[in-house]
């Protein structure tokens, strides 16, 4: 972990959102790109929070404090980094599989795509399959991203994809899957019914950029 990530982690462990926000501000002062802030500071710090919970060093409540502070920090960072685009395409809808609560990676993906001019709709944690299909039918996005962090939710990723493919939405969106339970396992992604996969938000942006550069 970098020094900045460690400082951010320390702020999370103290539950100190002011320091967390100050660290975000100074990171963006020295580099206005959101990508290194998200992927080299916030994400490693939150992974370490998960590990500390596993190691019984911190409680579930501590982990929720860290999550809330990091999500607020992302909101602040995004608003600072965002510049208005006239263009709002391609479009993407992002949802965690039903019951999946780990949502930060997906939010990172949406924020990074917005900065590239995409129009994204972020649905966050545990989206019931019927509501996901409803909003896909209404908005007809170019891409649907479905995420699962823990393996028991993989069948729910598959159900969501089956439901979207069976919905008759036209044109059919590209479907990308990700999250820790999927990683960048292309074979698994295929068996889940997805078109694409990526190991993290940054790679997902690259994969999607390539797809739409060709069109």
């Amino acid at each position: 972990m970098t020094g900045a990530a460690q400082e951010f982690l320390d702020a999370l462990l103290r539950g100190d959102r002011r320091v967390a926000n100050r660290l975000v501000d100074s990171a963006l002062d020295s580099n206005p790109d959101l990508r290194p802030l998200y992927l080299d500071i916030l994400q490693p710090a939150m992974r370490e929070i998960g590990r500390l919970w596993q190691e019984n060093v911190i409680s579930v409540a501590d982990e929720h404090v860290a999550t809330a502070i990091t999500q607020a920090a992302m909101g602040r960072a995004f608003e600072r980094a965002y510049v208005w685009h006239d263009r709002r395409t391609p479009t993407l809808i992002a949802a965690c599989a039903e019951d999946e609560r780990h949502q930060m990676g997906l939010r990172m993906l949406c924020d990074l795509l917005e900065l590239e001019g995409w129009g994204t709709t972020y649905l966050g944690a545990s989206v019931p399959v019927e509501s996901l299909v409803d909003i896909v039918m209404k908005r007809k996005p170019d891409v649907v991203a479905v995420s699962a962090t823990i393996a028991p939710n993989l069948p729910r990723v598959r159900s969501a994809i089956v439901a979207i493919r069976g919905s008759g939405v036209s044109p059919m969106p590209l479907i990308i899957v990700g999250g820790r339970a999927v990683g960048d396992n292309e074979d698994l992604a295929k068996r889940l019914g997805a078109d694409l996969t990526a190991s993290d938000a940054d790679e997902a942006v690259r994969v999607l950029r390539e797809q739409f550069a060709e069109r």
């Binding site: 596993q54 190691e55 019984n56 060093v57 823990i150 393996a151 028991p152 993989l154 069948p155 339970a181």
Partner: protein, 129 residues
Amino acid sequence: MHDEIARHRAAEYLIRDKEAIAVTVTKALYDESPELIDKHGERGRQKTLQDMRYNVEHLTPAVDLGDADMFAKYVKWLDDLLRARGVDTKYTRRCLEMVRDEASTRYDADVAGAINDIVDAGLGQVTAA
């Protein structure tokens, strides 16, 4: 590697029988190791039951997809988590061995084989070489 049909059937049975397997294995573990009640109390038993449900939930997609590595990683993660909370690896190993026995008792050879291929990969993580 067992064929896809056996694996899908096995996953369906695991979803259907999750609660029964969790209850049976928890009871068998506590019958065999009464010291667990002395050490962790009734709350520990309830946690074990909940953990057994999670174990079956993690086992199911690994069996369905024939992905032994997925379950092996989970067992490693679980063992680290439980050891940090004072639960010795031998209990995690016994739970998995009991799941193995349950599968062999409950299901036909194809289904039991599809399940136990994956359980064995998990056992590999908690068995001294």
